[in-house]
């Protein structure tokens, strides 16, 4: 513990200020309760997500380098992002800036040209779940829990980019075939790469029960294609929801606004089509933690969830 630091730069990403407001609000609540401090990254820009990198390599590097530069200006060495896509993009930029000198120099020159401070140091990016687990941990969650989530069976959905790829997220001490300097070293704080468990541990500390959810816990939801290739996304979401339902889950806990939106959108479509066993609602893990800390449904904005988890929670006497 204490590797990442109690006070970090917080990169919310675009969706947390719009459709995923509930994630932003509940994240701040949980951080406050756990005694951690988020320093909002002023005037950030989009990380480029999974889309921009297919169009332009250098452009995506620049977008992320600008955010890193903002964090440096606010005096931080660590950025924390609550979205899988954002943390992936920042970690990807980190990887290329660290291993490719030519890219680093070019990016710095272009940043200067664009009126942004060049990077004197490359800040590290962590997913917010990693941060919660390592700076507070299940013990602290247990201490703070006032209304345990007793009887709630949760399927913990991590999504694809939380532990993957290990080159960027550094979840695996694997040397690969690349040359020495390009080899990533495993992070001290990293989750298990094939069987992540941080969310399980935090929610179990808050009193919930995790159901068996492998291998769907890291299966892709088809998020990057959720608008452009609907059939693939729909099928992937169907597999995830059905696995959760058939293993007895009341609710799916998510940690990425893109996965969350994809699950909710396609859950609705699948239900309209009459596909069986897909009626599991989704909620952000921070919302569930917020409930356990004694906050109300309104405080953690559970009404914002389009899949409507309130009835399930009411039935168990948790909301």
């Amino acid at each position: 513990m204490g590797v990442i630091g109690k006070r970090v730069a917080y990169y919310p990403g675009c969706s947390l200020e719009g459709a995923a407001r509930s994630y932003d609000v509940s994240t701040r609540i949980v951080a406050k309760e756990l005694g951690l401090e988020l320093d909002y990254l002023e005037d950030y820009n989009c990380c480029g997500a999974m889309e921009s990198k297919n169009v332009t390599f250098m452009g995506t590097m620049l977008l992320n380098a600008r955010n890193m530069s903002l964090a440096r200006r606010q005096g931080h060495n660590v950025i924390v992002a609550p979205c899988n896509g954002c943390s992936f993009s920042l970690q990807r930029a980190e990887y290329f800036l660290e291993t490719d000198r030519a890219v680093y120099d070019r990016v710095n020159a272009l940043l200067r040209e664009g009126g942004v401070d060049p990077l004197d140091q490359i800040p590290q990016t962590y997913h917010i779940l990693e941060w919660f687990y390592h700076e507070a941990g299940p013990q602290k969650v247990k201490e703070r829990t006032r209304k345990p989530l007793r009887g709630l069976k949760v399927a913990n959905y991590y999504g694809c980019l939380y532990t993957r790829p290990h080159f960027y997220a550094r979840t695996y001490a694997h040397a690969g075939g690349q040359d020495e300097e390009a080899r990533p070293r495993k992070r001290e704080t990293a989750d298990d790469d094939e069987h992540p468990y941080y969310m399980n541990a935090l929610l179990e500390a808050a009193g919930a029960t995790s159901v068996e959810f492998e291998p769907m816990h890291t299966q892709c939801c088809g998020g990057p294609h959720s608008l452009s290739d609907e059939l693939v996304s729909e099928k992937f979401v169907m597999m995830i929801l059905q696995t959760a339902k058939r293993n007895g889950a009341d609710i799916i806990a998510t940690e990425c606004p893109l996965c969350h939106a994809s699950l909710e959108m396609y859950r609705h479509r699948l239900m309209m089509k009459g596909v069986p066993d897909v009626d599991v609602p989704a909620a952000y893990f921070t919302q569930l933690l917020g409930l356990a800390f004694g906050y109300s449904v309104g405080d953690v904005k559970l009404k914002d969830n389009l899949s409507d988890p309130i009835p399930v929670l009411k039935k168990l006497g948790l909301a």
Binding site: E17, G114, G177, R183
Partner: protein, 252 residues
């Protein structure tokens, strides 16, 4: 005998008969299944160089064709077995552009879950390499417009314009691109939900916050749709981005 990766062989080149005589030799029995050979002489060895030129495509040289990427790939396993990352890398390295072009209709289906990159024992950044191959093909005009590329461009343009994206505008803009008639207000030219054509499932989904009287959520998102959230001091940075993208041939 089984043929591994049968999807890679054209059906007309697989020969299976009860009695099979080839060049006067009877090869019936266990050996009744044959893949007819073919000769290829139109390959472009410079193609792999194109891929290697971009920093994210460099690792293509490290691949030793173990196929762990394909075995992990959800698109290959659950959607279309013609989607085969190992094979795409193989073809790109040999410069067999014809064969790549035949598979262009599935190549874009990668969902960027990075399972391939994660599990590669040789440290190839498989997903990045595949995207680099697609980019190299697009540069040569070998792939047609496909939905995910259109969306990627649409998304990137939105980022370039404002510095940030907005979920609602992205959604309705995309619906419009797909051929639905989206109603826009005459002054600000912003899409108005509930009026005009919208897919039925989406209509029902947007009504949900209305039904549960979740006014805060609606107001916030409506505000964002009307006044697009933007990054301050963006214009100078935008020009640099534009310049870089033009160099890479991503802007026209």
């Amino acid at each position: 005998m089984a043929i591994h990766e049968r999807s890679l062989v054209e059906p007309e080149r697989i020969l299976r008969k009860e009695r099979l005589v080839i060049d006067g030799v009877d090869v019936s029995g266990d050996w009744n299944l044959i893949i007819l050979p073919r000769v290829i002489n139109d390959y472009d060895l410079d193609f792999a160089k194109d891929v290697m030129n971009s920093p994210d495509g460099k690792t293509i040289t490290q691949c030793y064709q173990c196929s762990y990427c394909t075995a992990s790939c959800p698109v290959h396993n659950y959607w279309d077995e013609r989607y085969n990352p190992r094979h795409f890398i193989y073809l790109a390295r040999l410069g067999m552009i014809d064969e790549l072009q035949k598979r262009a209709d599935v190549m874009w289906r990668c969902v960027s879950c990075h399972k391939c990159t994660h599990r590669c024992p040789k440290g190839v950044l498989v997903e990045e390499v595949l995207k680099a191959i697609l980019r190299a093909m697009a540069k040569k005009g070998l792939v047609e417009e496909y939905p995910s590329k259109k969306f990627d461009k649409f998304f990137t343009e939105s980022v370039l314009e404002y510095g940030r994206i907005e979920d609602g505008e992205l959604l309705f803009g995309w619906i419009e691109k797909q051929g639905y008639r989206v109603f826009k207000d005459p002054i600000l030219k912003k899409p108005i939900p509930f009026i005009g054509e919208t897919p039925e499932w989406l209509k029902q989904l947007t009504v949900k916050p209305l039904k549960s009287m979740n006014i805060g959520f609606l107001v916030l998102n409506a505000k964002h749709m009307l006044f697009h959230p933007r990054t301050k001091n963006w214009s100078k940075f935008k020009q640099v981005l534009r310049k870089v993208m033009q160099e890479e041939g991503a802007l026209h």
